[in-house]
């Protein structure tokens, strides 16, 4: 098929691709270009066609002795800090826990199919619903979490899980861990099930400790699948919107970069500034992806 010198297959291929590419251009490429464009204007949502160019003014500007713009905006810097903290902590926990769960579920016991099905449940529940469910369970007065912890005697007064800054972030991370860990575990489990069994038989016969087998054999073999799971999770965590917006609202303590950008864009109707915030998030994600891929490349070549 590949050897045909005929140009027609290629032309047909492009013809078949054209509708998909057109839609993708309309919903992705063009809107992104507009966001980049708006980020150097002072456009507002009321009338998107009336704007002035203000150069880098949305990002950084100086008036007299004072600096203005996104990069000096305490709210944006707070959102940046929140997002990075959330991404690093939640993805780390999800990765370690996800591998552990995959190893445990990979055991041969009756009911493994049911166990795998249960793992899909948190992932399939709409994020908005998860957020509401957990907000209800973590409710400071009527929540079952406080009730449970007080019953066991771990705490002796109700805790405002979503009220105080540190606890709100911890709760946000906990809910994300509940929702996303099964997803990581599922991808790792799929990789585990492709591993050669004889390798493990040999290790067991030789009496090598299971811990050593895990770090020397299993981990290197599942590393590609794990790398994919981690980048998926990392990108989702960096652009996270639904969970923070519904669980804790536009609260500074848990505001993510996506929540901040939407606040500016829609709530304050400041399309110029909001687009600048969106542009910044876009480039942060591009940067993280580039660093991640570059860091993984030597590992891939090794083998």
């Amino acid at each position: 098929m590949a050897a045909t010198p005929d140009r027609r297959p290629a032309r047909t291929a492009w013809l078949f691709l054209a509708p998909m590419l057109l839609v993708l251009a309309l919903v992705a490429v063009w809107p992104l270009a507009r966001t980049l464009f708006f980020s150097i204007t002072n456009a507002t949502l009321i009338d998107l066609s009336a704007y002035d160019f203000i150069g880098a003014g949305n990002f950084l500007a100086r008036e007299g002795d004072e600096w203005f713009g996104l990069l000096t905006d305490p709210q944006w810097l707070r959102a940046l800090r929140n997002t990075l903290l959330f991404a690093v902590v939640s993805v780390s926990i999800e990765t370690v826990l996800g591998v552990a769960i995959a190893l445990v579920v990979n055991a041969h016991l009756p009911g493994r199919g049911l166990m795998r099905a249960a793992m899909l449940v948190p992932w399939a529940i709409p994020t908005v619903v998860s957020a509401k469910m957990w907000a209800w369970m973590l409710h400071d007065q009527f929540g079952v979490v406080n009730d449970l912890l007080m019953g066991v005697g771990i705490i002796d007064a109700p805790v405002a899980w979503l009220g105080s800054a540190g606890l709100a972030m911890a709760s946000l991370i906990a809910v994300d861990v509940w929702k996303a860990t099964p997803f990581v575990a599922m991808l790792v489990l799929a990789a585990l099930q492709t591993l050669p069994r004889d390798c493990y038989e040999a290790a067991r016969v030789d009496g090598i400790s299971p811990v050593k087998v895990f770090f020397r054999v299993t981990l290197p073999l599942i590393r590609p699948a794990l790398a994919v799971a981690v980048i998926f999770r990392l990108l989702d965590a960096l652009r996270m919107f639904d969970l923070a917006y519904v669980l804790t609202g536009a609260n500074e303590a848990t505001m993510t970069l996506s929540v901040h950008a939407r606040e500016q864009l829609v709530s304050f109707q400041d399309v110029g500034y909001g687009s600048a915030a969106s542009t910044a998030l876009f480039f942060i994600i591009v940067l993280v992806t580039a660093v991640y891929v570059a860091a993984l490349r030597p590992l891939g070549r090794e083998r």
């Binding site: 839609v23 009911g111 795998r116 709409p126 908005v128 619903v129 369970m137 991808l187 687009s275």
Partner: protein
């Protein structure tokens, strides 16, 4: 006896771990279900089983919040998104998976790149298009904007599946003089049915759960989809959220999803991992 115990102990340990894990995964939804079945007077006393079970919350959410309309909206949007994504995706996947042409690899990575876009990065541009075509506060705006979420991975996963089919299939068909159109519609479409079920389900779940666009592009309750409706359920005051109603609404939209997931478990996992592992 001792030797036998040594053999059984690890299995008992793992079974216990499974139990803990299952509780961790399922308990939150179970608790939401229990709460949804309790009368509003009792709901503020935490309990692990429905005391005096009632469907009052379900009746309230359907009658007072026009939640039925919201569900219909979600079904319409998600179905249209799935149909469009699969229709566009299967032809694109044929080109990307079965034909060799210059720029194929670059195209694949560009499509993967689009799936990494944060939604807010296209929000202002989409707003402009939505307004230009007069789609603001309409379901069409949501169908349109949801394509950025579903189309890239639909193409990617279908391409992975398409690549796995044996070469002989189209060789024989081409010998018989089949045109590419016939090749895709008559030969690949039936073969791809299982893959399309898996991908279609993933797209359906993505569109059903989408929140940011639905929140930003609709205004009136009659145009809202389920996630926005649930997020915006309010009570008499900010501090008096009708939790029973919220839990009932949550259960209504989640139970069908969980049933779908359980029925199509194997296909879903195949679809999820096909995109990740083969890519």
């Amino acid at each position: 006896m001792n030797l036998r115990w040594r053999h059984i102990a690890p299995r008992v340990g793992i079974a216990l771990l499974w139990l803990v894990l299952a509780l961790f995964l399922l308990l939150p939804f179970y608790y939401a279900l229990v709460s949804s079945l309790r009368p509003s007077a009792e709901i503020f006393n935490p309990a692990w089983w429905p005391t005096a079970p009632t469907l009052e919350n379900y009746r309230a959410v359907m009658e007072e919040q026009s939640f039925g309309r919201n569900i219909l909206n979600s079904v319409v949007v998600a179905t249209a998104v799935v149909a469009l994504s699969l229709g566009l995706g299967v032809f694109a996947a044929y080109s990307l998976g079965r034909v060799r042409f210059a720029g194929r690899r670059l195209l694949l990575y560009t499509i993967l790149g689009v799936s990494m876009f944060p939604q807010v990065a296209v929000l202002s541009g989409l707003f402009e298009i939505v307004r230009l075509f007069g789609l603001y506060d309409s379901l069409l705006a949501l169908v349109f904007s949801n394509m950025i979420l579903t189309l890239p991975f639909t193409v990617w996963v279908l391409t992975a599946f398409m690549r796995d089919l044996p070469v002989e299939i189209e060789e024989a068909a081409i010998m018989d003089g089949a045109t590419p159109w016939h090749l895709v519609t008559r030969i690949f479409l039936p073969l791809m049915a299982p893959a399309m079920v898996a991908t279609g389900l993933l797209a359906f779940i993505a569109a059903w759960n989408e929140f940011l666009f639905a929140l930003s592009f609709t205004l009136s309750n009659t145009q809202r989809t389920v996630p926005v409706a649930i997020a915006l359920i309010t009570g008499a005051s900010e501090y008096e959220l009708p939790w029973g109603n919220i839990m009932a609404a949550s259960a209504i939209v989640t139970v069908p999803l969980i049933v779908l997931v359980l029925v199509f478990q194997r296909r879903l996992v195949a679809g999820l991992t096909a995109g990740a592992v083969k890519g």
